[in-house]
Amino acid sequence: MKTLLTLAASALALSAPAVAQDVTITNARVVIGDGSEPISGGTVVVQGGRVVYAGPASGAPAGGTAVDAKGAWVTPGIFATVTTLGLADVSAVSETNDITASGTPFSAALDASTAINPTSQHILVHKAAGITRAATSLRPSGSIFGGQGAIIDLDGDANPVVQPRAFQMISLGEGGAAQAGGSRPAAHALLRAALREAQAIAGGKSGIPETTEIAKDDEVFLSRFDAEALVPVVTGKQKLYVDAERMADIRAVLALKNEYPKLDLVLVGATEGWLVAQDIAAAGVPVIANGLIDLPETFEQLGATQSNAGRLARAGVKVAINAATLQDPRRLQQVAGNLVALTKMPGATGMSWGQAFAAISSVPAEISGMGGKAGVLKPGALGDVVMWTDDPLELGSVPTQVWIGGVRQDLTNHQTRLRDRYKDLDESDRPKAYDW
């Protein structure tokens, strides 16, 4: 009986939410994440799950568990946008994949927060790579509207969703054209029809007849339920992420503000953004930009260059690096490092180290509506802190410790378990299956 009780207690301990512990990290190379350069010999203090101090050692309040960083880099957690973390186990295994749903009649109403799996291996692997929060999104598959993305944390506990329905994702350009029936005008007509419906529902424009759905044959492009989901978009309460690549498509997106002034636009991809950087800056629209795409992989990316992000930033655009076009979001650090490398190349435009790091931490957090709360080590921010083996933008630099919301994280995952099993090939006693 006693054994049973112990077992029960230990099972409870495993499932109980971890509690944030106060911690003071000293002797660190501290990166604030706001674009400033690193601070040597710095201190970071986290109390009650929040950052209370980050900066030079002098002036730091005392308290909590002491951690000597021994000179290691300490940064805010990486904030990854746009990702599909938590929405698929194996993307090519359709039954595990919740990113797309070409068979559903719904589109804009789809809500990523209903499907986030906090123990997905991709979440665990990416936490071990220093990503602590992410914007995770559905991909348009049956309409130009992908649905509503969520902001999540990667701590693996029962509540991964930080902000449900944080943004609506739509695709214009070639992708949107294909989804809308075959052309850019078809995509723009669908977008306007949908926003008009949403306005009518919101009561913003009287006299516009409300239709039940927009459909052709068996294919529903927009149901009434979807139109209702677009009300927060058209009223500016929910961000509208627009995937567009070509200069002309970007201009068309910016022009939407003339018709729908309340739209809270964010450009995603924007491969040719550098060609209209001044216009984007003037419109005050932030960009989640492709970082290293430098090939005309489509006809809407003819002007692709690795200098895109740097040139946008130089023009005054708020630029985050897009994770969606990477092999995996954990390559964000590598992309940022490459943007720093460009500063040494004649004719190229890159970013300073601080600027590049901000483009994968504080800036994507700001774009995601979490400015000052994530991706930055400033008083009041969530206690998302990462200690690294090396310069976090350098190749192969990985976290040694990760805190999310002040909670020290276990970095074990499927890959680390395989690594530990195969650190040798010795099966002289028993097969590898007994080695765990």
């Binding site: 186990d89 194996v90 993307s91 090519a92 295994v93 291996q121 991709h122 692997v125 200069m247 040719e272 060609l275 290293l292 795409i293 430098d294 090939l295 005309p296 992989e297 489509t298 006809f299 990316q301 003819l302 002007g303 692709a304 260059t305 690795q306 200098s307 092999q327 995996d328 954990r330 390559r331 590598q334 490092g337 490459n338 720093v340 490398a341 460009l342 040494k344 190349m345 004649p346 004719g347 190229a348 083996t389 933008l393 350098e394 190749l395 192969g396 630099s397 990985v398 499927h414 890959q415 395989l418 690594r419 195969y422 650190k423 090939l425």
Partner: protein
């Protein structure tokens, strides 16, 4: 059992003669004003039409090294591609070849171009063993989709070189950002036997032949696992399972062996490729993710009498590093791709390092128009994963993964892949440590000719496709 190559050799000789006659006959009928050929009329009527015989070079390389000046780089850190490192080293190239490699005292003639390499690094040209540039070029529209002849599970008769579009802008990106000087273009993996690969010099050209690497052997692409069984299973035909994959392969090899042993057999392009493999003239590049499937392929190769040069995308190679070492097979792998399909589920960052631990051959490959621009960075990630497990793999060895080892698995290691006297002067000067994210190629020489110079915008190839388009000639 396949053994007799000589019978086919004799047939080939006889056909060579006939072919020469046919050509002569052609020129006679084509232009009556020209004097008749020396061949007699009876010979012409006997053998009027004949192709160039099997085994003779066709679609031959027309590549010639571009004009070059004798050049030396002095004061750089030199990785020779075979695991050697020289601080404050000298690399001297002339006549398109590596003339000398050594320390600071290496003699350099007085009247040649000398680059100060202080603070910079020199490596052999980077080599990608797995690329689809040209076959799946940019822009990636359907009209350009030429990498998979997915109409039959075995198509050894197709040659990737016949799909290469030399105007793919991807070649120039691989040169300028990745320092890639040679690459193998493989057919895709829809088929069990996808066809022949082609090895290219990464030089801009109007034709594929103008890029074709002189003297490089062909390889044949094979594929294990999910792709062939999915593509053909979905069409309700064999193979639809992994056991079907192996069965179709074995039947195909047996038929090739019969063909090889039959001196009277009519020419068959598919079987010519397979016989080339059995003879050891054509290498096998085998797409294979899972460890257990690689072990099956190795046994199939033993059964049929051929050798696998490299397993590609071998994400589980680390589970059988011992077996791969014993069979002298390279693993061409990514540093960090994992989890995108079922057979990649067990991908780990330590794959390369664990193979190195076992003494097995490691090659870092791209399979990607973007990653080919950063093979040096991918190699570094794999090295660092090993370091965290206590394995200190030297930088010079890591450079070998993307130079000499790739050349070895492609059968061109006697020509390029390392900085050794007499080899092709395929050389990259990096503006910093090539294993740092902050470094880029500054200059790239191919056969001693300066084909890319970051300091000179005009020494940057721009493909026909890019002319007059947004960003023409941009840094990319």
């Amino acid at each position: 059992m396949f053994a007799d190559g000589s019978a086919r050799g004799r047939i080939a000789l006889a056909t060579t003669l006939a072919s020469a006659l046919a050509l002569a006959a052609c020129s006679t009928t084509g232009d009556s004003a020209k004097p008749a050929s020396a061949s007699s009329k009876s010979e012409q009527s006997d053998k009027k039409f004949a192709a160039t015989p099997a085994g003779e070079p066709v679609f031959a390389s027309t590549y010639k090294p571009f004009p070059n000046v004798a050049t030396a780089i002095r004061g750089a850190t030199v990785y020779d591609g075979k695991g050697g490192k020289i601080e404050n080293g000298v690399v001297f190239m002339s006549g398109g070849k590596i003339t000398a490699v050594g320390g600071p005292d290496t003699p350099i003639p007085a009247d040649i171009a000398v680059f100060d390499g202080a603070g910079k690094f020199v490596t052999p040209g980077i080599i990608d063993i797995h690329s689809h540039l040209g076959d799946y070029p940019s822009p990636g529209v359907d009209a350009h989709s030429d990498g998979n002849e997915a109409t039959s599970p075995t198509t050894p008769e197709v040659w990737a070189e016949h799909s290469v579009w030399p105007q793919d802008p991807g070649f120039s990106r691989a040169l300028a950002n990745g320092g890639v000087t040679a690459l193998q273009i493989l057919p895709g993996s829809a088929n069990l036997m996808g066809g022949r690969s082609v090895t290219l010099k990464n030089v801009p050209a109007r034709t594929m032949q103008g890029m074709k690497f002189p003297g490089a052997p062909y390889s044949m692409k094979m594929a294990c696992g999910e792709n062939p069984k999915r593509v053909y299973g979905n069409r309700g035909r064999m193979p639809s399972t992994r056991m079907g994959n192996i069965a179709v392969n074995r039947e195909t090899w047996l038929a090739a062996i019969d063909y090889a042993n039959d001196p009277k057999a009519k020419r068959d392009l598919a079987k010519e490729t397979l016989v080339g493999v059995l003879k050891g003239e054509i290498l096998i590049q085998n797409h294979c993710y899972r460890a257990d499937e690689m072990a099956l392929v190795l046994d199939m190769a033993k059964e049929m009498g051929y050798k696998v040069a490299a397993f590609h995308h071998a994400v589980e190679a680390y589970k059988i590093g011992d077996l791969l070492r014993e069979n002298d097979v390279c693993s061409a792998i990514w540093a960090d791709w994992y989890g995108f399909k079922m057979e990649s589920y067990d991908g780990i960052l330590e794959n390369a390092a664990f193979l190195q631990r076992e003494g097995a051959c490691v090659v870092i490959h791209s399979d990607d128009q973007n990653d080919i621009q950063r093979l040096n960075q991918e190699a570094r990630k794999a090295q660092m994963a090993g370091l965290r497990m206590g394995m200190n793999i030297p930088d010079a060895t890591v450079i070998q993964w993307i130079t000499y080892n790739a050349a070895k698995a492609m059968g061109i290691a006697d020509k390029t892949g390392s900085l050794e006297t007499g080899k092709m002067a395929d050389v990259v000067l990096w503006n910093g440590d090539p294993l740092s994210v902050y470094s880029r190629p500054e200059k790239v020489w191919i056969d001693g000719a300066l084909m890319f110079d970051a300091m000179n915008p005009k020494t940057r190839p721009v493909s026909d496709f890019e002319l007059g388009q947004p960003g023409e000639g941009d840094v990319k």
